[in-house]
């Protein structure tokens, strides 16, 4: 570039109008690229019809004490387990403060509906489905659920007791629409 012209355009600290134009053009380019990429990225998020399937209603009338049914919620199994009074008493007698993921049984059920345990049936280790919902299943050392993939044992409140899983089985968001109807999600 012609040196006299360059000096003419340069400010006191050597910056030119061209530097400013480079910066603004670059910034606008970055914004434009981001705007163009966002629809591509967001198209991979759950679509409207997938989101529309986000809640499931379960009629629990036919479940007997001691029985578990498995329902599908968001493509994942949810265990709905009806507990007997003895089961509840037994699981609440244990000291929970020392567990790996300390939670009381009371905080994992809806008060007033203490016999109903609702759990996402996905092991918190790597996403397998724990066994224990069927009568003939292996239930693990704590007589609750047992994950066959990497050997995690859950108790009758779905709390992790042994094995590699870090957390208790999750309790999904749910509410009692009536005494016999649960809406999950």
């Amino acid at each position: 570039m012609d040196s006299t012209k360059k000096q003419h355009a340069a400010g006191a600290d050597g910056e030119t109008r061209r530097d400013f134009l480079y910066l603004t053009a670059g910034a606008m380019g970055a914004v434009a690229a981001g705007t163009a990429v966002w629809p591509l990225v967001d198209s991979m998020s759950p679509a409207a019809d997938t989101l529309a399937l986000a809640s499931t209603e379960v009629d629990v009338t036919s479940i007997q004490a001691g029985q578990t049914i498995t329902v599908v919620w968001r493509g994942k199994p949810v265990f709905v387990h009806r507990r007997s009074a003895e089961e509840i008493a037994e699981v609440r007698a244990e000291a929970w403060q020392e567990l790996r993921d300390p939670q009381s049984d009371q905080s994992r059920v809806k008060s007033g509906h203490d016999e109903w345990l609702v759990l996402v049936g996905v092991c918190t280790h790597l996403g397998c489905i724990p066994m224990g919902s069927k009568t003939a299943d292996v239930k693990g050392d704590y007589n609750g659920w047992f994950c066959p993939c990497h050997g995690s044992h859950y108790d009758k409140s779905g709390r992790i007791r042994k094995g590699p899983a870090p957390k208790n089985l999750a309790v999904p968001p749910y509410e009692f629409v009536s005494d016999t109807l649960i809406r999950i999600g």
Binding site: P46, V72, P148, C149, G151, P166
Partner: protein, 486 residues
């Protein structure tokens, strides 16, 4: 590329006419005809070409398979069965594609081992090596997505287990996994995108392979002596010497490959790969394909949560390290300051993540004992970080191992350590397939420990302290060559 010379180079006028306009023949002669190869390159130098051949076989068989495959959760499994039973030669194409993935990895693992043994990652081949690691990562992603497509029990559950790894990242994990799945579980959107990416990525790999070969043709090949060619005496033209050598090696390799395809096509496959995916029933034992097992074993080796108690102990240890560093670097103020800064950064980071973990954990009954048990880095996240870290270590390998001697031939201790690394890697491959209980866990942990110690402790130490053997002045003076009368 420079302008082609105006002199007539080719007898055939058509070739000459084309070459003046697009010098493709000039390029072929330069890169694959007269290209100088170190004359001592052995058969281990043939595995790169085999890997490229496997890539092409995978692309060709894959494109044809895609014409008969349906990427929908209700139809994918049956469409694969239809390929096996009804499509003309479908069984052959699928068995070539299934076993081809395994043989691609076999070629690439040997290719990588060759690079480690003869120091092919060292100056001036750092970028060549890093591009190779990128190819390896892309291959792993592609193979993983391909494993999902038959939508078998192994497919669906393998995808569930591996994608769930990303949920272990704090804060963003759950959102990231939902985005990867395109839903709240592994379902049709997941299968669709895996098919799209499984189709795309091989062509990306092909592009990166082009860059890999380009970089190779800038630096030239390494060789068993690990000294660069000094004169024409040290090299031979690629054609016919190495086209014939690589060609022979390729025929042997393909014979073993096709032998597997025809006589033992299911030797490397789990039987749960032949049951349709059921999102409500987990198979009792989920294992990835054999070529992922060592990394899967590293993942499973981490079983202890990093809790506040351990963090406090580590902080105590770091505090004690300050006076130790003060004494150790007494003579050198600069090094002492550096050590203090490093220790300070570690301590600061540790305090920060501890406070962050305590602040983000909700405790039902807060007490001192409960706070001590707050988990900062869960075991599973340690495993995920270690698994990715184990491959990313290879990226920085040229700077970890700065020994000026390339070939393990002249590095007696490095050679033994590399053998232990290989044994560790094979051990990890074995323990990766076992249930995580009993002695395989311990064996996996010991092997994992060695894997990281090899790269992070042993290599930097050897680079400075190892007494290497005298390196020959040139390839021609290499006693290994001379004894054969070359």
């Amino acid at each position: 590329m420079s302008r082609p010379a105006q002199t007539e180079k080719f007898q055939n006028p058509v070739v000459q006419w084309i070459d003046e306009r697009l010098p493709i023949f000039t390029m072929l002669i330069k890169e694959y005809g007269v290209f100088p190869m170190p004359k001592n390159a052995n058969y281990l130098w043939s595995f790169g070409g085999m890997a490229l051949t496997m890539l092409i076989i995978m692309i060709v068989s894959g494109v044809v398979l895609a014409m008969s495959y349906t990427p929908h959760v209700d139809m994918a499994f049956n469409s694969v069965e239809r390929i096996m039973r009804d499509v003309n030669y479908g069984w052959l194409l699928r068995y070539i594609h299934m076993n081809g993935a395994s043989f691609f990895f076999i070629a690439v693992y040997i290719h990588i081992m060759r690079g480690l043994y003869f120091g092919s990652y060292k100056k001036p081949r750092e970028i060549l090596w890093i591009v190779g690691v990128v190819i390896f990562l892309l291959m792993m992603a592609t193979a993983f997505m391909g494993y999902a497509l038959p939508w078998s029990q192994m497919s669906g559950w393998g995808v569930t287990v591996i994608t769930s790894l990303f949920a272990k990242f704090p804060l963003i994990g759950d959102g990231l996994v939902t985005w990867l799945w395109g839903g709240f579980s592994v379902d049709n959107p997941t299968l669709n995108r895996f098919f799209a990416l499984h189709f795309l990525l091989p062509f990306v790999i092909l592009g990166v392979v082009f860059i890999h070969v380009w970089a190779l043709h800038i630096t030239g090949s390494n060789n068993p002596a690990g000294v660069e060619p000094k004169s024409e005496k040290d090299t031979l033209p690629f054609h016919p010497y190495f086209t014939s050598k690589d060609g022979f090696a390729l025929v042997v390799f393909l014979t073993v490959f096709l032998g597997t395809v025809f006589f033992a096509p299911l030797a490397l496959t789990e039987f749960d790969h032949f049951k349709a995916y059921d999102s409500m029933v987990t198979p009792p034992h989920i294992v990835p394909e054999w070529y992922f097992l060592p990394f899967y074993a590293i993942l499973k080796s981490f079983v202890y949560d990093f809790t506040v108690v351990l963090a406090l102990l580590a902080m105590g240890g770091l505090l004690l390290a300050f006076p130790a560093a003060y004494v150790f670097f007494k003579g050198d103020k600069k090094k002492r300051d550096m050590a203090f800064m490093g220790l300070g950064a570690l301590l600061g980071g540790l305090v920060l993540i501890t406070l962050l973990a305590i602040a983000t954990t909700h405790l039902e009954q807060p007490s001192a004992a409960a706070y001590l048990k707050v988990v900062i880095i869960p075991a599973a996240l340690q495993g995920v970080l270690a698994m990715f870290g184990s491959i990313l270590l290879l990226v920085v390998l040229p700077w970890i191992d700065c020994s000026p001697v390339k070939s393990a031939r002249y590095r007696p201790i490095y050679k033994k350590c590399l053998l232990v690394l290989l044994i560790s890697f094979i051990t990890l491959g074995y323990t990766g397939a076992q249930l995580p209980e009993g002695w395989p866990v311990i064996a996996g942990q010991v092997a994992t420990l060695y894997y990281f110690a090899h790269f992070l402790v042993i290599l930097p130490y050897l680079a400075r302290k190892e007494k290497t053997l005298p390196v020959p002045n040139s390839i021609s003076e290499d006693p290994c060559c001379a004894s054969k009368g070359n």
